[in-house]
């Protein structure tokens, strides 16, 4: 799976045996709607053939261009070698590409337009996600700095267990930093929980959790799930408890819910893209919805993020 190029859509794994057989209802039904519309609109395969091929012939030209780059830079081919092979392939590709350009008025514009729409969605999503990651990274804090602040500010440790769902990288994520800044206290047991999906159907129980104590009462737990498993987080905590994390039964789960707003952009294009991105972000499926978190123990922390 290529990461980060498409909004989160609700998916369903349809096979417990093989990775890659996923079913994306949204994509499936969208494709169906368009396919049926084309069938009704064109009515016969003769006319539909006129619209067919423009998009893929463009893809083939682009594939050849990328192939040249890979040959030269990855496979270390000499210029003559690569140019000779690519020359032949490109000649064929371009012949078909230009012949297909003639079909644009006969309906060839339909697949091209559809492709452009998908492209806009993918790049906007990527652009937005990347921008949010940068913003998150900017608001994160280095662990040493963070733990030093816990002591110097005399942040009170109150009884209880807090589980923050994060993708903890090298730094303490903004959700925890903000929480401490605002509340000026922290639970005695804090777990930064990272959920990771592997490309196997089920993860063996010995590989399920990895626990690391970062500081006094501050743990980083990484839990691995297979792609057919429904993440049961309370059960994970039970596992963690066995491994020595002092988890209390009434753990609270904290997750961040981001609300996007565009700053006043001079460029109307980027303003429009931000609007599209926040629309997709609001409507995309949240992986957290699949986790078995008891709703009474869940605390969502909303944040406004300006892009």
């Amino acid at each position: 799976m290529q990461l980060g190029w498409f909004p989160g859509v609700r998916i369903r794994q349809t096979s417990a045996e093989e990775y890659g057989q996923i079913y994306v209802p949204f994509v499936n039904w969208t494709m169906m709607a368009f396919t049926v519309a084309l069938t009704v609109g064109f009515g016969s395969s003769d006319r539909l053939a006129g619209a067919y091929g423009t998009a893929v012939s463009t893809t083939m030209v682009l594939t050849t261009a990328l192939l040249y780059h890979v040959m030269r830079n990855r496979w270390q081919w000499s210029l003559y070698q690569a140019a000779a092979v690519i020359g032949v392939l490109l000649a064929v590709d371009l012949a078909f590409f230009s012949a297909n350009l003639l079909k644009i008025s006969e309906g060839g514009w339909i697949p091209l337009t559809f492709g452009v729409l998908v492209f806009i969605i993918m790049t906007t999503w990527h652009y937005g996600v990347e921008a949010m990651h940068r913003r998150n990274a900017a608001r994160s804090q280095q662990p040493t700095e963070f733990f030093a602040r816990l002591r110097s500010d005399n942040v009170v440790r109150v009884p209880g267990t807090a589980v923050f769902l994060t993708r903890l990288g090298n730094a303490i994520p903004p959700i925890i930093v903000n929480y401490v800044t605002r509340v000026r206290s922290l639970q005695e047991t804090v777990i930064a929980l990272t959920v990771s999906f592997e490309d196997v159907p089920r993860v063996q129980s010995k590989d399920r959790v990895r626990i690391e104590e970062l500081d006094d009462g501050f743990w980083h737990v990484t839990v691995h799930f297979g792609f057919v498993e429904i993440p049961d987080l309370p059960a994970v905590l039970t596992l963690a408890k066995k491994d020595g994390v002092p988890v209390l039964d009434e753990a609270s789960y904290y997750i961040a819910r981001d609300d996007l707003s565009g700053r006043k952009h001079r460029n109307p294009l980027s303003r429009w893209r931000i609007t599209l991105f926040s629309f997709m972000s609001r409507n995309s499926a949240h992986a957290i919805d699949r986790f078995k978190i008891p709703s009474s123990a869940l605390v969502e922390i909303g944040r406004r993020i300006e892009l």
Binding site: Q2, G4, W5, G8, I11, T14, G20, I22, Y23, P25, V27, M31, M32, F34, T35, V36, L38, T39, F42, G43, S45, D46, L48, A49, Y52, T54, A55, T58, T59, M60, L62, T64, L66, L67, V70, M71, R74, V88, F96, A99, K103, P111, G115, V116, V118, F119, M122, T123, Y127, R167, L168, T194, S196, F197, D199, V200, D207, S284, A287, I288
Partner: protein, 327 residues
């Protein structure tokens, strides 16, 4: 499909780098059949409309020489694009089990924010466009198959389009059971289909061995050269034979079934060459029929009518006998 499995923003992803255990499955006949249904289904249905479109484009200029020429163009287009470009080069670009244009894009090490943004744009736009034609593929395949029924009986003629819509909705509904389920259902059907066209092809070769002349690229070149602009337009029709090859450009197929089912690029090429051969041979049958019946009244109309006979899916009960030899 290049859709990420989970919302990239909200799903904490692996930052620790765990051993990624991919499934190493032995290639079996079953998985091979599965791949046939998923990967090659597309490749196998394009003869349904490729030649018909070429005939449609050329009108009364579709002479026996032109037929041999288009056959030659199809043959060489498939060899160069599918067998050489995709099977040999593109599928060799293997990025952790994923192939295709997105794997190529990843292998260039380009970044959206950073070096080589145009490579990312090329890769993404190319992948996005596959969805563009992807909405036509089911429509055109099902429509042309249903239109084939009109030849056997005209009862269904007014219902061709609604009938096609019903089949399409059914097919998309089955998708919800997974590509594995789809492959299991259509793998055997496609196997019968390929076997049928292969047998017909061999019969065709035996009767008219000179069809193999189409392997000579000169005929194709002549077709393009001698017809000026029309020859150029015909390339658009020839390309329809390649649209099935886009399966090789998508990532999701190469990640699972193809890899486990086909124990290597070689077999993939062999299969595609076989299909190439089979397909060109079928086309030859059209040609011979055309040669013998050309003097009849409304030859093109009858030819297209006969083409419809060819387009019956293998499961259709009403398959008429095929006029291999001149009647």
């Amino acid at each position: 499909m290049p859709t990420s499995t989970v919302s990239t923003l909200n799903a904490p992803t692996d930052s620790t780098g765990v051993a990624q255990n991919r499934f190493a499955q032995p290639a079996t006949a079953t998985t091979g059949l599965l791949a046939l249904g998923i990967v090659y289904g597309d490749l196998g249905t394009s003869p349904l409309y490729t030649l018909q479109t070429i005939v449609h484009f050329m009108g009364d200029q579709f002479t026996p020489e032109a037929a041999l020429g288009s056959l030659s163009l199809i043959f060489w287009a498939l060899i160069i694009t599918i067998s050489i470009k995709y099977c040999f080069f593109v599928m060799r670009a293997d990025n952790q089990g994923e192939g295709g244009i997105l794997a190529l894009m990843t292998m260039t090490d380009a970044r959206w924010f950073g070096r080589g943004r145009w490579l990312i744009i090329a890769g993404l736009f190319g992948a996005a466009l596959i969805y563009g034609d992807g909405i036509i593929t089911p429509a055109i395949s099902v429509l042309s198959a249903v239109e084939g029924l009109n030849v056997a009986t005209s009862i269904f003629k007014p219902y061709t389009m609604p009938f096609a819509v019903v089949i399409l909705v059914g097919l998309f509904a089955i998708q919800s059971r997974g590509t594995g389920a789809v492959g299991k259902t259509f793998g055997p059907v496609m196997f019968v289909w390929f076997a049928t066209i292969a047998i017909l092809g061999v019969i065709g070769i035996v009767h008219h061995p000179h069809v193999l002349a189409a392997t000579n690229p000169v005929y194709g070149a002549q077709l393009v050269m001698n017809h000026g602009f029309l020859g150029f337009t015909v390339l658009g029709g020839v390309f329809l034979a390649l649209t099935g090859g886009k399966r090789f450009t998508l990532t999701w197929v190469t990640s699972g079934e193809t890899q486990s089912a086909l124990p290597g690029i070689a077999s993939c090429c062999r299969l595609s060459s076989l299909i190439t051969l089979v397909r060109s041979v079928i086309s030859w049958k059209h040609l011979t029929w055309k040669q013998t019946r050309f003097s009849n009244s409304h030859p093109i109309g009858r030819f297209i009518h006969w083409l419809h006979l060819q387009r019956l899916p293998p499961s259709s009960p009403a398959k008429p006998s095929l006029p291999v030899r001149s009647p």
